[in-house]
């Protein structure tokens, strides 16, 4: 099957705020291959999205406000929109879905979307983020419920833990930069999968491969490095692999990896072989390795080496971002509630600006945070 034929039957839907953000900034080549669409219940969000295709979930008869952020109500709303969604999906062979789980919309809608796609025999892959532990128990519960339902639907799932990502962030990295990196990771993952999916092969062959590594997959991690030329590829492959911060034991247990080497012209075989080999020799007996070499880059750009590992042993984190040791079982209660490192997250919309300093205080940080004032009955405020 040629690339265009598969591409014409693939769709990429960004669901919820984060999902829509991710699909809006994909490279042109990828957008042409998968025709992204923005999905939300909020008209305003859709209106603001630069993506040409927009799908509104929920009935026009009820205001978005009434639906609330309640995943249950959103599911109801989804049911009412199902007809419309089936229509939009008809003729689709592969559906890629992106969103940040833990919020209302993505968590409520993505599992139902997967079910709906399954009924229509569409091969479905979800790329999602798992909320930070500090975002609270409720969001993390919503996430787990959504994940379970997605897995039940039979769709493939690559779930990127934000806490794991932050393990690699410096102390003074701005808050917004962290979320930009989350977006970036989802973008890279979608690009990798799209590249592989639309690469020439046996009809549907690539779908089988992706299905193998993503079904029931649980956590995924993504690394991406650039090489200035083919001779540098091995170096960037190693860098990408080490950026995943997986132990040798973890690596041996990974279910599958998907590698995309993207340049602007034809690449010689040897550097490709050596770079991928430097990764695969560290993987386990059962780990599946999929790879594709693409030419999406512009001549002036470097070669990129992207590595997505799926089915990675899960790690758990405390609300302060520290990792819970593996020996600690899930049912053992956490010993104490720890505080969030405020300076890291509280400059909010001013994260990218220089601080407004007055007598040693950064006035961009909320007053109530600096003064250490507990906001009554509100867990988010006090710490």
């Amino acid at each position: 099957m040629n690339q265009q034929a598969e591409a014409g039957k693939s769709a990429l839907w960004g669901v919820g705020d984060q999902g829509i953000r991710v699909i809006s900034s994909l490279p042109e080549e990828v957008r042409l291959l998968v025709k992204p669409a923005a999905v939300d219940s909020d008209l305003q969000t859709l209106v603001c999205s630069p993506t040409a295709r927009k799908i509104r979930i929920g009935p026009q008869t009820r205001s978005a406000k009434e639906i609330g952020g309640d995943p249950k109500k959103l599911r109801e709303a989804f049911r009412e929109s199902e007809e419309k969604i089936r229509e939009k999906l008809s003729g689709t062979r592969t559906l890629l879905i992106v969103g940040g789980l833990g919020g209302g919309l993505a968590s409520g809608v993505i599992p139902d979307l997967c079910l709906c796609a399954r009924k229509m025999k569409i091969f479905t892959l979800v790329f999602a983020t798992r909320p930070f532990a500090f975002e609270g128990k409720k969001r993390n519960r919503i996430f787990r419920e959504a994940r379970e339902r997605i897995e039940e639907s039979g769709a493939g799932l690559a779930c990127f833990s934000l806490d794991r990502l932050v393990g690699k962030v410096d102390d003074d990295t701005p808050h917004q930069e962290v979320f930009r990196r989350c977006d970036r990771i989802l973008q890279d993952a979608v690009e990798c999968a799209t590249a592989y999916l639309t690469a020439p092969s046996e009809p549907g062959g690539n779908r089988v491969g992706l299905g193998n590594i993503f079904t029931g997959a649980g956590e995924a991690v993504m690394g991406s490095e650039e090489a200035s030329g083919p001779e540098d590829l091995v170096k960037s492959a190693k860098a990408a692999l080490s950026s995943l911060a997986l132990t040798a034991a973890d690596l041996a247990r990974v279910r599958g990896v998907l590698i995309q080497i993207d340049g602007s012209g034809p690449l010689p075989f040897r550097p490709v072989e050596r770079s991928i080999g430097s990764v695969s020799r560290l993987l386990g007996e059962e780990t599946e390795v999929l790879y594709t070499v693409t030419r999406y880059r512009k001549p002036e750009e470097k070669i990129s080496f992207r590595l997505l590992a799926a089915g990675v042993p899960e790690r758990r984190f405390r609300a302060d971002g520290s990792q819970i040791p593996v020996t600690m079982t899930a049912d053992r209660p956490e010993s104490r509630q720890e505080e969030i490192d405020f300076n890291k997250f509280t400059r909010g919309i001013f994260a990218d600006d220089g601080p407004t300093t007055r007598e040693g205080e950064d006035l961009d940080i909320p007053t109530f945070v600096r003064k250490g004032i507990e906001l009554d009955g509100d867990p988010a405020g006090g710490g």
Binding site: G69, I349, I373, L375
Partner: protein
């Protein structure tokens, strides 16, 4: 369309909105707004340009809207400036009077003001305004109009407003790239003061506080002269950011919560009042306490007014405030902010709306437009085409160039 009067335009390049106001002056005091356009501003942070392309785009949009609706071609505007880079000083100089028996001449006055403003500026700074205060001739102090007074020494006191040249150039560049010339750059709070303050207030001592999105700009007036100006890089956006973090909502939701439900006085809100979030996207926010929201806002504004009060106190001005505070800018729209400001400063406070201008009344009847209206009024008062600059009150706010012209 046939326009008989002179066209004057004010361009307020703010952190949250860009506003272009075009007025026609048909008589001395007869200013009529004939066109207004407003666009969200995305290229500024805390009053300073960070993204030229977006700012130019927004200015162009306002321009084409105004030009189309008014059927005019606009050449130049008065533009506002603000930002943390603005710094002000009081300065003075004493010079011998050139011909003591004839009394102080215009030349003496100009020379003294010049000398007082020859403040040693770092190379990346420039003077935005020279605002003459009182003069003294020998031992007689507090003279407003020294011309003709006999004596041997003339002392000039001036208030100097300076800004960082690159920051000012950024604004100039944006306006120019949008196809407009800048007649003059005017400190935002001075523009706003022209739009909202009463003469009695400026006479008896009052502070104009313009609470914008990115900055809070204020100016203290007494005896109809500017004594003190200051820009604090804290504004309505900080209130929004605090809400966003404290209530765990998205920025636009925080903005909506602020405008719809926030009060600056948390005590006025019942413990049991809960909020319906403006958008369904954050599930955990159903049934949040309105009191918490107001508490977040109150804490931020208490701090802001505390900073202003402390600064005025340090400058020794607090006891010279005869009238009180005049709040304007979008931040002044916050519920109960007047009462909070009174509580925090112990001074009488009122909310200032732009006045003294007619036409499109309902379009500009909000503190959000104070700066734009003030810029137009500034242009009318000290515009290029103005031949009579003898107006006494001209001493209050005149650009450097303009002021010297009066005396040469």
């Amino acid at each position: 369309m046939n326009r008989s009067g002179e066209i004057i335009a004010g361009l307020d390049v703010g952190t949250t909105k860009i506003c272009l106001l075009v007025a026609e002056r048909t008589g001395e005091e007869d200013i009529r707004v004939i066109g207004a356009a407003i666009r969200p501003s995305e290229g500024l942070r805390k009053g300073e340009v960070v993204n030229v392309a977006r700012t130019v785009e927004a200015i162009k949009n306002t321009l084409s809207q105004v030009e189309n609706t008014c059927e005019i071609k606009l050449g130049s505007v008065y533009a506002g400036v603000t930002g943390a880079h603005v710094e002000s000083y009081n300065s003075r100089a004493i010079l011998p009077i050139s011909n003591p028996s004839a009394g102080v001449s215009r030349k003496d006055i100009a020379a003294a003001v010049e000398a007082a403003s020859r403040f040693s500026l770092p190379s990346d700074r420039e003077i935005l305004h020279v605002l003459p205060q009182e003069f003294a001739v020998d031992d007689r102090t507090g003279i407003v109009e020294p011309e003709g007074i006999k004596g041997s020494r003339l002392e000039a006191n001036v208030h100097l407003v300076t800004g960082r040249t690159p920051a000012i150039n950024d604004i100039l560049n944006c306006v120019q790239q949008a196809g407009l010339d800048v007649e003059e750059t005017v400190l935002q709070q001075l523009a706003s003061s022209l739009a909202v303050m009463r003469e009695e207030e400026q006479e008896s001592g009052a502070v104009l506080i313009d609470i914008g999105g990115g900055t809070t700009d204020y100016a203290f007036f007494r005896n109809s002269m500017v004594r003190h100006t200051r820009v604090i890089s804290v504004g309505g956006d900080h209130v929004t950011n605090d809400i966003r973090i404290g209530m765990r909502v998205l920025v636009r939701q925080a903005e909506e919560l602020k405008k719809k439900y926030a009060s600056a006085l948390a005590e006025r809100v019942g413990d049991e009042e809960t909020l319906t979030l403006p958008s369904p996207l954050v599930p955990s926010s159903g049934g949040r306490s309105r009191k918490t929201l107001c508490r977040i806002v109150e804490l931020r504004l208490m701090e802001l007014f505390g900073l202003i009060r402390g600064d005025l106190e340090k400058a020794g001005l607090l006891q010279n405030i005869g009238s009180g505070l005049v709040l304007t800018g979008g931040g002044a729209l916050l519920r109960d902010i007047r009462e909070l400001a009174e509580r925090e400063t112990g001074l009488p406070v009122r909310i200032g709306l732009p006045r003294g201008i007619c036409g499109l009344r309902e379009a500009i009847d909000s503190p959000v437009y104070s700066t734009a209206v003030g810029l137009v009024k500034y242009g009318c008062k000290w515009g290029m085409n103005q031949s009579t600059l003898t107006d006494r009150s001209g001493g209050v706010i005149g650009g450097f160039r303009r002021w010297l012209e009066r005396y040469f």
